[in-house]
Symmetry: C2
Subunit: 243 residues, 2 copies
DNA sequence: ACGGACCTGTGAAACATTTCACAAGGGCGA
DNA sequence: TCGCCCTTGTGAAATGTTTCACAGGTCCGT
């Protein structure tokens, strides 16, 4: 992927950029600012499992996902690891380290085969400074992230396993629906367990219980939420109110 | 406190504002932008326990703490509650709802008797838009918050009780030292338990175990961290490595 | 078309944490 | 200064979750 980055970026611009146009936080930027930003973008293709950056790295780029998903995670010295976020088409990631210049605070990995856009820090930072509208856009993005992350803290602290699992499923379907229009989540039970901080076995048993009541359908590497309402009710009821 | 807000704000400006100057994220703003911002500020005094805003409220103001501490928390329908953050002198809070215009996502309460500065949304938002430097400052602030909150998620997911407790104590002393210069934390075990999401009883037993080994000293409504290093080591070792 | 890696499924025992039910002490306001 | 409320302290039983040790399925790359 080293050669002809620019040619690639331009060649595909109308089709690939439309993904960003459609879903991203940049959607309502003025057209020319958006185009200008995209002119800096480099296109790349990654295979499932490829590391993108690691905790402690200096921030060099901002990324946007075109196709596939990227996993933001952290692993502890004793081998456990936690998935903080899954980034899908049209979303961007890696903006925090870029905006504050500090080192990366988590790992990013291609969770499936991916196509990404990459914008270099050297071009990005001055551009943001020069475009007040863009800066406000990033403030909005950061606020959104902050609300999501606080929600996560809240859930992990206040809810038990069923509640946390339900929250995660609903959050994922909500986001997924917005981009894909269907409720089948392409996610493994292992991954979910790392998102909510409980073991795969426990997650499996809970999912199975729900499946037998028709709330969800379990497939291979995927979960379909059939009845969101009872799950939502379970969250609002708080710890153990009829599993 | 309704009368003479302006007179108050000006009368005390040199002494009270110095607290903000000293610790806050605004510290290195240009002098005149800072002064201008402060001209909008209203001063108020609150008694311990006074609610400042509640989850779901529309955002009307930005707050800065002059003296005392403010508790940012959420409570679940079944009576449990989680403390997301404690805000001390020189720090600001309530900025997220203000910046994105969405409703408040948590409750804020005066955790001790407090003095606050309040800036109205109507004056604040246009001011931020007009001052690119200030906008960048807020981006930094949001990034910092986001890193802290992500850390919290990480710890709650990856660590067990001793680890979480150690993290919380070190985080609190770290911040406290910066503002107060001493390591005695004025915090109850109840409060700590709500910050880390475990019961007061469990927290008490763990603290007691550490106290008997001389790592901490327990006082009435306060905790003194005597030896931070072993606690730090415990975190890095991960779940159970010699309680 | 095959092999291996990854994903799902499951039960029993081990473990960490909560719950409950107390007792006693300190501090603050009336 | 008296009370009362909030805070600390503690033990045993109950509970939720993890750990461990498997087996079978399915998908992907070669």
């Amino acid at each position: 992927m080293p050669q002809d980055n620019n040619r690639e970026a331009r060649g595909f611009s109308s089709s690939k950029l439309s993904v960003l146009r459609k879903h991203s936080y940049f959607a309502d930027l003025e057209s020319d600012a958006f185009e200008q930003l995209c002119r800096y973008a480099k296109h790349s293709t990654l295979k499932r499992g490829t590391p993108i950056f690691a905790k402690g790295d200096p921030p060099t780029s901002l990324f946007a996902v075109i196709t596939g998903t990227v996993k933001i995670s952290i692993s502890s010295p004793d081998g456990r690891n936690a998935i903080l976020n899954l980034i899908g088409p049209g979303e961007i990631f890696g903006e925090i380290a870029l905006l504050d210049g500090q080192e990366r605070s988590a790992d990013a990995t291609a969770n499936t085969n991916c196509e990404l856009f990459t914008i270099d820090r050297r071009e990005f930072v001055p551009f943001v400074r020069s475009q007040p509208t863009l800066a406000m856009k990033f403030i909005e993005l950061l606020c959104t992230r902050l609300r999501q992350t606080s929600d996560q803290v809240e859930q992990v602290i206040l809810q038990d396993l069923p509640g946390r699992l339900a929250s995660a499923l609903l959050r994922l379907t909500e986001r997924h629906k917005r981009t894909e229009g269907e409720r089948r989540l392409a996610i493994t039970q292992q991954e979910i367990s790392e998102m909510v901080g409980m073991t795969r076995e426990s997650i499996n048993k809970q999912l199975r219980a729900w499946a037998s009541r028709g709330l969800v359908r379990l497939e291979h590497g995927a979960i379909v939420v059939l009845k969101p309402e009872p799950l939502q009710a379970l969250i609002e009821a708080g710890p153990d109110d009829g599993v």
